[in-house]
Amino acid sequence: MQVYLPIAEMSVDAFLLVGIGFGVGWLSGLFGVGGGFLLTPALLLLGIPAPVAVASGANQVLGASTSGMIAQSRRGNVDWVMGAVLVAGGLVGSVIGIQLFAFLRGAGLVDAVVSIFYVVVLGSVGSLMMMESLRAIMRRRAEAPARLHQHFWMHGLPFKIRFRKSRLFISVIPPLLVGAGIGLLSAIMGVGGGFMLVPAMIYLLGIPTAVVIGTSLFQVVCVTSAVTIMSAWQLGSVDIVLTLLLLGGGVAGAQFGAQMGGRLRGEETRALLGLLVLSVAAMLFWGLIDTPERVFNMGPG
């Protein structure tokens, strides 16, 4: 069934979109990630214009993360103070991201720069994941001594705040910077950024694992909301029909994926996820270097 996307200004098969949503949702449930980094490239492959793919991708991630955040906050797993600091940084980062996006669109460079961001970010995250999980699989028996808290240069920074729930007394500067970086990526790549935010919160900020998921979901929901509103306002690129079709399949797929994910071991899961992330990066990299069929292209404006 063909459905007309009012903002993308094109007709697409509705079942195909629900199917893509389901597939991405299934994978994201399986691996416990948001799935934005799979969704936006899938939309680009379908021929959805890059600004619409990015903005609607962010809008979809917002929907997909809402119920998780509600569930986590009910269980008391959200550090609201840490969340607020991360969101504050995220807002700054996403505002910068949207301005950059608007500039790039004027210069006709959106497609290439979005792809480059994907290749660099997914390439490095995927490689790290692969290496880390392979190492973990090989050294499964050698148990590492668990250190509670390490002190390094970061802890000499000023403006310290007590984050009660995270049992931390650290400067607000690192979480602000982490939040801003994720906000920038969210605006340009149409992702929630959980796949970078979670490791940064655990290894860089030292937040206990129990509150990491809830707090990162809170940040993702707030920042993708901001990206959605700013994209709609400044770029006019959010297609709600596209978002809702993707969400329809995505929410169902995530439940099935999560059921199956419980049966996989942590290291194997991460190795598979790393492989998936690397393949998306490789595919987009190929799109950048492959000689285009048409040297000329046309757009409105």
């Binding site: 200004e9 978002t243 929410v251």
Partner: protein, 244 residues
């Protein structure tokens, strides 16, 4: 050929008044672009007082849609990757353009006359800023034709019973909203002897139109609605699909 029969019925009153040299009609004066719109076509038809076709007069039909600006970009290779490089902006060219005739326009009229009526893609005024190379103009012509937005002699104007003519005007799925002008010219001995002008409207209707309007004229409100709808849909979905 059911349409030919319908055509005769429509054209009958016109045939009864031989003083009208040219009568022309459109099958519809409104095209509604709804959520499931997948392209449409309009029938341009009419009759003439004098015989048309081989040995007689000829018919030319030219259609122009609303004017828009388009930017054509050329990809260049930088560090092994392809980026959009030089660009040319074409200001106020018709978003849709079609010319058709019982014979190609260049065989019927001198070039000056064709220019006056913009008959032919080669004579379409295309003012541009930016890159000057002629390839940009050629690329715009090619891309617009591939999209079905610019058509030149896509299908000939058909003649029936020496005095009736008809032509189907295909409108692609991505047709922009606005007013479209259809000119029908009666040509004899390299001169335009009669002309008729008609208009039709392409309008967005239904949910898609409402969404596009809100997004365009109240973008902040639209953004907030998108946030609330996505959050609601995500939450509802997780309730419905919980535990498989």
């Amino acid at each position: 050929m059911r349409w030919l029969f319908a055509l005769l019925l429509f054209a009958a009153p016109a045939l009864a008044q031989p003083e009208e040299p040219l009568v022309a009609r459109l099958s519809q004066d409104r095209v509604e672009v709804s959520t499931t719109f997948d392209g449409a076509s309009i029938l341009v038809y009419g009759s003439t007082a004098q015989p048309i076709g081989p040995g007689g007069a000829e018919i030319l039909i030219v259609t122009r849609g609303p004017e828009q600006s388009f930017t054509v970009r050329r990809k260049v290779r930088v560090l092994g990757m392809w980026f959009n490089g030089p660009s040319a902006q074409f200001l106020d060219v018709p978003a849709f353009y079609s010319v058709a005739g019982t014979l190609p326009a260049w065989r019927l009229l001198p070039e000056a006359m064709r220019g006056a009526f913009s008959l032919g893609l080669d004579l379409l005024p295309m003012e541009s800023t930016g890159a000057r190379a002629p390839q940009f103009r050629a690329a715009l012509l090619e891309l617009k034709q591939q999209a079905g937005m610019w058509q030149e002699d896509a299908a000939p104007v058909e003649i029936g019973a020496n005095r009736l003519f008809s032509s189907r005007l295909p409108l692609p799925a991505t047709i922009p909203a606005g007013e479209y002008r259809v000119q029908v010219l009666l040509v004899e001995s390299r001169r335009v002897v009669a002309q008729r002008e008609m208009r039709f409207l392409v309008e967005r209707v239904g949910t898609a139109a409402t969404i596009a309007n809100v997004a365009r004229y109240q973008p902040l409100l639209y953004g907030v609605i998108c946030v609330l709808l996505a959050a609601l849909a995500g939450w509802l979905g997780s309730v419905v699909f919980r535990r498989g």
